[in-house]
């Protein structure tokens, strides 16, 4: 194997964005027919390196060889021509178009008339060859994330790609969808394709990859063979230190803080999203809400916060009914919210770190006096929280949009946790975060738990749910199928429940709310 010319060979790649050296003298060697994992913390430069390979960015220095020949990749068109395809971190699909139309867009073949049937037949053929399932005539906006991702894969396969780049493909997938994806990836390898896989999850690296390249702060930190390494070794290369074990759970929960009973609510599309939810969370307790995304978890969070109107039922926080309160009043009762998508709901990206820290409190002293904002007080508080919550760089004046995902999330946490909340509703708090940032978020949540805060943790990461929760509720199609004590929530059992198999509840635990 050492004698074979690598299919991708990048040497001495450097790239600056203004003041920031995103990549410095980075090498990447990928062999044909390999699954090559590219790992590193948020902001390590993984996406930047792949954007250079795909021609979206131009490197300031360095060379790229494809199949041994030096390649000048000035744009995606050149990359496609060389057989390189990219499955982007944020899907590049046109929602109102069909699966098949998205696959062939830009390379429709045939005459100027749109031959729908021909196109769908071609896409079906491709699906059969690579064992990918997706209805070619379905509209993208109607299919789940997992299917949308398969469409992205079909797109690059359709263009004859030999080298497939996956940028964090599993971040938005359910465990089942992740399994399906890896099955597809293995089929691709079997067909002689080369796969470059960016991920934060070491489990996935160990499960599917052949080689690993680790980046840290824009430099090569390690190049490893998967079978001859351990997750711990990769983690050390990524973070530069050993990871901490999550502290054991202890302490007894106190009074019921959140009490939801008989809650029903409509979805955005009109149908019911919640069909009678009963759930309780006590002080000093983390209740994990597991479930495949889109089964009502986000709607439940929105109802508690007052962002969505319930059609029936009661939501009590500390004994007070908040079902008809607006978010402002709910928050004043001590409810903190870590929304699902920090970039859309959690932050105002063009605002500074300090401004984002005080959003929602901007009308109060000391941040405002007689309706006038006080910049110095805001900056001082911003600087204090930036340090306390380890935002890097700890500069209160920097635009939040320019921070890495992990640091953006720290800003959200800093704002939400700084006021000693009674209840925290955290929806996918570590989505897209690297392991160090994930660890940090987990520690902060556990701190709050020890302080006596009640926490409702919504996550599609089973590991996260199981590591942190005292009790685990599984949601399926707008209902809570079961609430299990953490000790009884095995991965298999949760997996079955998430797929709607009620019989997995078992005899000992019922669906009691609190």
């Amino acid at each position: 194997m050492a004698l074979e010319t690598p299919i991708v060979e990048m040497r001495g790649i450097s790239k600056r964005f203004g003041e920031l050296q995103a990549l410095a003298d980075v090498d990447l060697t990928v062999h044909r027919g390999d699954i090559h994992a590219l790992v590193g913390e948020n902001g390590a430069g993984k996406t930047t390196l792949m954007n250079i390979l795909y021609g979206l960015y131009r490197a300031d220095a360095g060379t790229t060889r494809i199949r041994g020949n030096e390649a000048r990749i000035a744009g995606p068109r050149d990359a496609i021509h060389l057989g390189i395809g990219m499955i982007h971190q944020h899907f590049m699909l046109v929602p109102p178009l069909t699966v098949a139309e998205n696959v062939v867009l830009g390379d429709e073949r045939g005459g100027p008339l749109l031959d729908r049937r021909g196109i769908e037949a071609r896409v079906s053929e491709l699906e059969a060859r690579f064992g990918i399932r997706a209805d070619p005539s379905a509209k993208i906006e109607d299919v789940p994330f997992g299917v949308q991702q398969r469409v992205e894969i079909l797109k690059v396969l359709y263009r004859g790609s030999e080298i497939l780049i996956f940028d964090e493909p599993t971040a938005v997938l359910t465990p089942q969808e992740v399994d399906d994806l890896f099955q597809i990836v293995r089929t691709l390898r079997g067909e002689g394709k080369t796969v470059i896989l960016i991920t934060h999850k070491l489990r996935e690296v160990m499960a599917v990859s052949d080689h690993v390249t680790v980046l840290r702060e824009g430099r090569n930190a390690a190049q490893l063979v998967t079978t001859r390494t351990t997750p711990a070794q990769i983690a050390v290369a990524m973070v530069g230190r050993e990871l901490r074990e999550i502290a054991a759970r202890s302490g007894t929960p106190g009074d019921v803080v959140l009490e939801v009973s008989g809650l029903t609510a409509p979805s955005d599309r009109g149908g019911p999203a919640l069909k009678g939810i009963d759930l309780g969370v006590r002080a000093g307790e983390i209740v994990g809400l597991a479930g495949v995304g889109g089964n009502g978890q986000s709607e439940l969070a929105q109802c508690i916060l007052g962002l969505r109107d319930a059609s029936a039922g009661v939501i009590r926080v500390g004994g007070v009914d908040v079902a008809h309160d607006d978010p402002h009043r709910t928050r004043r009762r001590g409810v903190a919210y870590v929304p699902e998508d920090r970039r859309v709901e959690g932050l105002v990206l063009p605002f500074s770190v300090a401004e984002n820290f005080i959003l929602g409190k901007q009308d109060r002293a000391p941040y405002a006096r007689r309706g006038i904002l006080r910049a110095d007080a805001i900056r001082r508080e911003g600087a204090r929280l930036a340090t306390e919550f380890d935002v890097r760089p700890a500069d209160p004046d920097i635009e939040v949009g320019s921070l890495s995902g992990g640091n953006q999330q720290k800003v959200v946490l800093g704002r939400e946790l700084s006021e000693s909340p009674k209840l925290i509703v955290a929806n996918q708090p570590t989505r897209g975060l690297d392991i160090a940032a994930t660890e940090y978020v987990h520690e902060r949540l556990l701190d709050q738990r020890s302080r006596g805060c009640a926490i409702l943790l919504i996550s599609s990461e089973l590991d996260e749910i199981r590591d942190l929760s005292d009790r685990i509720a599984v949601m399926f199609e707008g209902r809570i199928l079961a609430v299990l004590p953490a000790s009884e929530a095995t991965e298999d059992r949760l997996g079955l429940l998430m797929a709607g198999h009620v019989e997995a509840v078992g005899e000992r635990s019922g669906t009691s709310p609190a």
């Binding site: 960015y57 995606p76 590049m92």
Partner: protein
Amino acid sequence: MDVLIGAGVLAATIRLATPVALAALGGVVTERSGVVNIALEGCMLVGAFFGVFAADRTGSLPAAIAAAVVAGILLAAVHALAAITFRADQIVSGMALNILALGLTSYLDYQLYSTTGTPSTIPLVPNVHLGFLENAPVLGGAIGDQSAIVWATLAIVVLLQLFLFRTVPGLRLRSVGEHPRAADTLGIDVRRTRYWAVLASGALAALGGVYLSLSVAGSFSDNMTNGRGFIGLAAMIFGRWTPVGALGAALVFGYGDALSVSLQGVKVAGVEFPVQLLSTIPYLLTVLAVAGFVGRSRMPAADGQPYESEGH
């Protein structure tokens, strides 16, 4: 009954709907590609003027129509340059061009025709007489004697509908308006697509203008489009950004307009019908349409957003 659905009212409906429909079609093309072009009003106005001007100078109808369309395209080109190349605010650019078009046409009209009015000898767009309908009761009066541009508009609606939803370039145009970055990564030229769409919208609106001046009025007068370009944009929204829908919406607006004429002086239960109120119907419908009260219309996702490709 005749004042509601008589041949006269229907013929007027079609006459009043046609320029609105053409502006709406222009709106559909440009907004489907992701560019908002409120300069359609101005494109229409320059079309109306330069149609008359060229007809006067050359005496040739084809030359007049060509000049009108070119004028509309040129004005749209300025908008395209501002909106696509320089990523300027599309509303500001469009509004500025509307004011420019109004000033320019009024000035030229004053300089050239203030004493005499526009000449009455200029060639006009002929009507199409459908002889076989002559004796058909309502239909004959409604469509038996309409301008060639009316029929052209109908053809354009059909062709545009097919183009957008049944051809490859149409698919690409829609993808550019929904998700330009996705289109870009697939090698579709976003800027070029948008340029073509904006220019086409200018041509369509100008045709609407020429219909007003060389078919309906037979002359040009200051600000003769009188907001029809904007009503066209409302018809586009009302029609959910499809050519067929836009035509339907334009006909609804045209009917409202026609009624406010035909109901003039009509007494209902001894009281004269309040025509002044009635003539606000098209505008009321417009506001309702734009506010999204009429059905759930979804605009192209990238409508009005400038696109900057990522390559550095």
